[in-house]
């Protein structure tokens, strides 16, 4: 399947799953992001069309929430918590270390499409600070060493595949 027809077909299935209900727009966008790791423009257009929502309105919603990304993201999404508790426990140093390890800044993706770096404000696990969330896994009390270990492991996993 070509990329474009894959986007169209996947979007169609997702919209159908939500009963073509206008009020399910956010849920539809979440599913699209789950499928592609970001919100492709063609998917937004297709979703709007089949839900009967103007493209401009869909784009309003897609740009409103930080959880939605309009840019393709890497296979692994690394989120560094910058909340108050993590901040006082050295989140800035962890961010610096992570940036040097992955060679990217927050909001960017590595050239091999493996990692995207993001910063967030409190993930609700303050007692574990500084916290780094990778995909759905929470890493607490992160240190410089731990950054090397976690990222090293993920890189290895990729190499084995």
């Amino acid at each position: 399947m070509t990329k474009a027809s894959n986007i169209a077909a996947t979007t169609k299935t997702i919209v159908k799953k939500h009963g073509r209900d206008k009020s399910a727009l956010i849920a539809v966008l979440q599913d699209i992001q789950e499928a592609f790791n970001y919100l492709p423009k063609d998917a937004l257009k297709a979703a709007g069309k089949s839900l009967g929502i103007p493209f401009s309105r869909v784009y309003e919603v897609a740009t409103f929430y930080n959880a939605f990304s309009l840019k393709p993201r890497g296979e692994h999404i690394v989120k560094i918590c910058m909340g108050t508790a993590c901040h006082v426990r050295g989140a800035a140093a962890i961010q610096d270390k992570m940036e040097r390890t992955l060679c990217i800044k927050p909001g960017e993706t590595t050239p091999d499409n493996k990692f995207s770096l993001e910063t967030v404000n409190c993930v609700g696990a303050c007692a574990l600070g500084p916290v780094v969330v990778i995909d759905t896994e929470y890493h607490g009390q992160v240190t410089m060493n731990k950054v090397d270990k976690i990222i090293g492991k993920l890189k290895e996993e990729g190499a084995q595949q």
Partner: protein, 237 residues
């Protein structure tokens, strides 16, 4: 009918009348930017604030969105109202320092730019009132534009800042915009708006270019009137 007091004057208005209309009907002026008769209300500019009193409690409300109530006591010029309005004006001015409309309004209200509010340089003249988006959706019915992102990044435009394929070039957004933010350039047989160039239709009788061809096509499709009957301008009709 509902009876209320505005600045000490007893007035009565029909049920459902907004305070703004009630107050203006009593001959008292209230500054507004975002309330436009063509679109539903957003309460975005906050300039129309007044103080209301119910029993012993007083409160600041936006008069354009507050329906008149029996026995309500409204003050449009209290110190509190003027303070709130001045602050709102100062913030609007800091957002759009280039807007002549805002500059003039500020002068009328005796407001000057404040050093404590750093002036924006990237917002143009847009105060994010959403009137343009509403007219495009509610009146024109195409929803070509929207307000994107949020907070200090919020901007008006077309999705992805690209040419919209549903825009018909009618210029209704330009017409309702209170500050003149939206740029529409008409030169002879062409009109440019939101990054798209539209071909204009000359009037069959006087030859004047009067509307984008796409707009006439849209009207024809909506009303069923053949396009050939729409190619005469309103003055020659």
């Amino acid at each position: 009918m509902v009876n209320l007091t505005v600045d000490g004057k007893n007035i009565s208005v029909s049920e459902g009348t907004m305070l703004l209309e009630a107050i203006r009907g009593a001959g008292i002026s209230i500054p507004t930017l975002c309330a436009h008769e063509a679109v539903s209300r957003s309460g975005a500019c906050r300039l129309c604030v007044v103080e209301i009193k119910k029993g012993t409690r007083t409160r600041i409300v936006t008069s354009c969105l507050y329906a008149a109530e029996e026995g309500l006591i409204v003050d449009t010029k209290s110190e509190r109202v003027l303070n709130v309005r001045r602050l709102v004006m100062e913030l609007l001015l800091a957002r759009c320092p280039e807007s002549d409309v805002l500059k003039k309004l500020a002068q009328e209200l005796g407001v000057e730019p404040q050093a404590r509010f750093v002036a924006d340089t990237d917002k143009g003249k847009c105060i994010l009132c959403r009137s343009c988006v509403r007219v495009c959706e509610e009146v024109v019915g195409v929803s070509a534009i929207g307000l994107f992102a949020r907070g200090s990044h919020k901007t008006v435009g077309t999705a992805y800042n690209e040419k919209s394929d549903v825009c018909i070039g009618c210029g209704a957004c330009v017409y309702v915009c209170p500050t003149g933010h939206i740029e529409m350039i008409s030169t002879g047989d062409k009109r440019k708006i939101w990054g798209r160039t539209f071909k204009m239709q000359p009037c069959d009788k006087c030859g004047k270019y009067f509307a984008p061809v796409d707009q006439l096509k849209f009207i024809s499709k909506k009303t069923g009137v053949p396009l050939s009957e729409l190619t005469v301008c309103t003055e020659c009709r």
